[in-house]
């Protein structure tokens, strides 16, 4: 039970406490590790700065997508203390929804068909937005349904029951989606609602003609990268606004802090939880569409690893913290891109999780996490 007295400098410095013995060993080991990493990457960067910048950019792209997914994880965990494993699969459903909307129903063409007179650019923008909004809506409905059907009955059960349920839901979505009459188990080439353009930078910005590789020793980027970055940052700001300024956001924070008390204060906690799932799913849906456009091939287990890494990012940043999720996601993106660029592609997962373990050891609540108090 915390008292109400302010700490004064005097009381704290009155007697120096001895630190734990041999603490320097662990720290020097970590510092050594960090120095080696920085040196390694630094040397590579100096040797080929263009490649380094390209890796940095790839990392950013990955990081921004992770950030979109990580927000859902961090909010849901913050409020119901559940690792929502199915979140990655909601992301996948978002990608598939847009795929069907575009390639089967040509939904992205409707503005051009309905208003033949509007400018083609506007038509593309409108069409793409429709597709994205549809995917987001489908994801929201899916996530809220999952929450109602699978998680809500278990809210008072041991947390592990809910976690196993989440794993079950995740498997169900993946394997149900893999059935031939649903999405099929194969990799499907993705058809984007708008065409991607890429540019390379060499004495100015030049477009890359599609089908051609960018010239050597140049940095290339595409419109989809810009869209991902913009969307991710926009969502970040929007969410900050919702959580900090709106009524539902305040209710969310109250519920995450203390559910019974929030209930007593007249907050409809069930609705707040549903809203949290919905908003996380909407961003995951957005992320799913953008991811699919950027990496141009989808399959039903598409969401597993990005989902996991987004969760790791959320933990890294301090679970429950929205800026933390964003920063964590960017770090994860960089770590993966650098590993892919300089070590080997398959090792990216290994590095991602190693970073998680190290960060948790040094700061168990993550980078932006609130320090937890143990109560006896």
């Amino acid at each position: 039970m915390p008292g109400r007295n302010k700490v004064t400098k005097k009381t704290l410095s009155a007697g120096q406490r001895r630190g734990p013995p041999l603490a320097w060993v662990g720290w020097s080991f970590l510092i050594l590790l960090a120095v080696v990493t920085v040196l390694y990457v630094g040397l590579k960067a100096v040797a080929n700065p263009i490649l380094f910048l390209q890796n940095l950019l790839d990392g950013l792209k990955l990081g921004f997508v992770y950030a979109l997914i990580a927000l859902g994880y961090t909010m849901v965990y913050g409020i119901v203390k559940l690792i929502n494993f199915a979140h990655g699969d909601v992301f996948m459903v978002g990608a598939f929804t847009s795929y069907y909307a575009v390639s089967r129903f040509n939904l992205h063409m409707w503005p051009a068909a309905a208003f033949p007179s509007i400018s083609p650019n506007l038509a593309v923008v409108l069409g793409s937005l429709t597709v994205i909004l549809l995917s987001m809506a489908v994801c929201v409905i899916l996530a809220v349904t999952i929450e109602r059907v699978a998680y809500k009955p278990l809210r008072d059960a041991p947390r592990i029951a809910a976690l196993i349920t989440a794993i079950g839901v995740s498997f169900f979505l993946e394997f149900f989606g893999a059935l031939p009459f649903v999405f099929s188990a194969r990799f499907i080439p993705y058809k984007a609602p708008f065409s991607t353009h890429a540019w390379y930078i060499k004495d100015g910005i030049h477009p890359i003609i599609s089908g051609q590789a960018s010239p050597d020793n140049t940095i290339s980027f595409s419109n989809i990268f810009l869209i991902i970055a913009a969307a991710s940052i926009l969502v970040q700001v929007l969410l900050q606004y919702i959580v900090k300024r709106t009524k539902i956001g305040i209710a969310m924070r109250a519920a995450s802090y203390d559910k019974p008390t929030a209930r007593l204060m007249g907050i409809n906690v069930d609705r707040v939880i549903s809203f949290t799932f919905a908003i996380g799913a909407a961003f995951a849906g957005l992320g799913g569409v953008l991811y699919a456009i950027a990496y141009s091939s989808i399959y039903t287990q598409l969401g597993v690893l990005p989902g996991l890494k987004a969760f790791v990012a959320a933990v890294l940043g301090g679970i429950g913290s929205i800026p933390g999720a964003f920063v964590g996601a960017l770090i994860m993106g960089q770590a993966e891109a650098m590993t892919m660029g300089y070590i080997s592609t398959p090792m990216r997962d290994a590095v991602a999780f190693s970073i998680l373990i190290i960060v948790l050891l040094v700061k168990p609540t993550g980078l932006f996490g609130e320090p937890a108090q143990e109560k006896a």
Binding site: I167, S170, A178, V312, I357, L361, A376
Partner: protein, 473 residues
């Protein structure tokens, strides 16, 4: 009609096997030693006899079923280890599958090299495991003398200790292996070590070493990670499984093991797992886990699951208790991996993907958290139902049908979680796994109390309040 026959025979098989397990546990639970031994021999013989049993075209255990049986045995081991970690100690671990994979690859590499005339695998792994064990012991002694060394520093010490041990093992083992080379002879003129009997000795050794290897890795990994909170621990262990699989995929590029062939999978492992070895190791694991759980250390493990703070206040070293359960569970997983590698004869990193790693977790949950009986029964039932019955039955219904089983199984899981979150058996135990019932003469405490001058009942109320007389209010 054919389906109906298959359904019937499958049901008989599953029920028969579960009855067999319960019989085995019942027999092992008998007090006299000869009855235990008799049970073991009988249980072994029954299955062994059924292997050859055939009436016309009907075979009780076809080659396919035998494979399932070995799979069930390994799954039982892995799940028992996981139940120890998760069900009994309360640490939600997803690393079990990774340790299983480590054990499989480690053990397979030893016998693979031996079969190809190279004793290096056995010598280096054996030496490495033993020296690393010694190193862990020495570092532990050193750290015990200093109180309160932070986890990170302890980890650093252990890491470098183990690295040194491995380095020595490699440096000493390589020349030794070269010295052994002539003893293998050539293909035309096999040397003494090429005799099949040696492979039968090397195989169980490799399995034990694989277990020890998994245990030591889990020690090093668990030491820092177990100090994290439970959810973080879960994610870190999941990460571990992913890292292990990544290393398997890169075993021939990043790691120096060309014989493992990376993502293409390791082929050419001699199929050494017989029913004898599978059964022997199963009994070993069952005894190990049960003897651990039903002891003071095992009770301390349970206390940690129930309430960590209270456990600490009762003088239990929570960190060590967690680590011990984790290491023991991983040891068992490693052994399971060794058995698996030598019946399947082919190791692919895909087998050890973390998605499949949820299988043992689901078995443990199905069988009941904290019920060893349930875990063993669920492992056998699960494998024969899902891998055998459902796969074959759905396969007969149509080409698409097999994929349905992965749709059905999460649904089953969800229903189970909603209806019976504690698993089918809860914490019920049977036979060998049961805690011994405490019996005691009722008169005993009174006699004892008199003998030691202790009052067996509290004093009458009149004595109360003496030291503080006059404080009535």
């Amino acid at each position: 009609m054919e389906q109906l026959g298959y359904l019937l025979s499958s049901t008989v098989k599953i029920l028969g096997l579960i009855a067999w397990i319960f019989g085995l546990l019942w027999g092992l639970g008998r007090k006299p030693l000869w009855q235990k031994l008799l049970t073991i021999v009988a249980a072994f013989a029954v299955i062994q006899a059924l292997f050859g049993f055939k009436i016309g075209s009907f075979q009780f255990f076809s080659a396919f079923d035998q494979g399932l049986l070995f799979q069930a045995v390994t799954m039982a081991m892995v799940a028992l280890g996981l139940n120890l970690i998760y069900g009994f100690n309360g640490q939600f671990s997803l690393a079990q599958w990774g340790f299983y994979g480590l054990g499989a690859y480690c053990s397979a590499d030893v016998t693979y090299r031996w079969s190809n005339g190279d004793a290096g695998g056995l010598i280096v792994v054996g030496l490495g495991v033993i020296l690393a064990g010694v190193a862990i012991g020495l570092v532990r002694m050193f750290l015990n003398r200093k109180r309160g060394v932070p986890v990170l520093s302890a980890f650093t010490f252990y890491l470098f200790g183990i690295l040194a041990a491995v380095f020595i093992a490699v440096q000493v083992g390589k020349p030794l292996a070269t010295a052994c080379l002539p003893l293998f002879g050539t293909v035309d003129a096999p040397g003494p070590l090429s005799a099949p009997i040696f492979l039968q000795i090397v195989f169980p050794l490799s399995v034990i070493f694989a277990g020890a290897f998994a245990a030591e890795v889990s020690f090093l990994f668990g030491l820092p990670v177990l100090s994290l909170g439970s959810d973080y621990f879960g994610i870190a262990t999941l990460g571990f499984s992913i890292v292990v699989q990544t290393l398997m995929v890169n075993s021939d590029t990043i790691l120096p093991f060309p014989e493992m062939k990376g993502g293409r999978g390791m082929i050419g492992i001699t199929k050494l797992t017989t029913w004898f070895w599978a059964f022997a190791f199963l009994i070993f694991v069952i005894m190990l886990i049960r003897n651990f759980v039903r002891s003071s250390t095992g009770r301390a493990t349970l206390a940690v699951r129930e309430d960590e703070i209270a456990a600490r206040a009762m003088g239990i070293d929570v960190a060590s208790s967690k680590l011990l359960a984790f290491v023991l569970g991983s040891f068992v997983a490693g052994i399971g991996g060794g058995i698996y590698a030598h019946y399947i004869g082919f190791l692919s990193p895909n087998t050890f993907s973390f998605i499949k790693g949820f299988d043992p977790l689901i078995i443990v949950v199905f069988g009941g958290l904290g019920s060893l009986t349930g875990t063993v029964a669920a492992a056998f039932g699960w494998i024969f139902f899902l891998e055998g019955f459902l796969r074959v039955l759905l396969g007969q219904l149509g080409t698409d049908a097999p994929s349905w089983r992965f749709v059905l199984y999460p649904i089953t899981l969800l229903l189970l979680m909603l209806l019976r979150p504690k698993g089918l058996l809860g914490t019920t135990e049977w036979g060998f796994f049961q805690a011994s019932i405490v019996k005691r003469k009722i008169a005993a405490p009174l006699d004892k109390g008199k003998g030691e001058g202790v009052a067996a009942t509290p004093p009458p109320p009149s004595e109360v309040g003496k030291p503080t007389t006059g404080n009535k209010h």
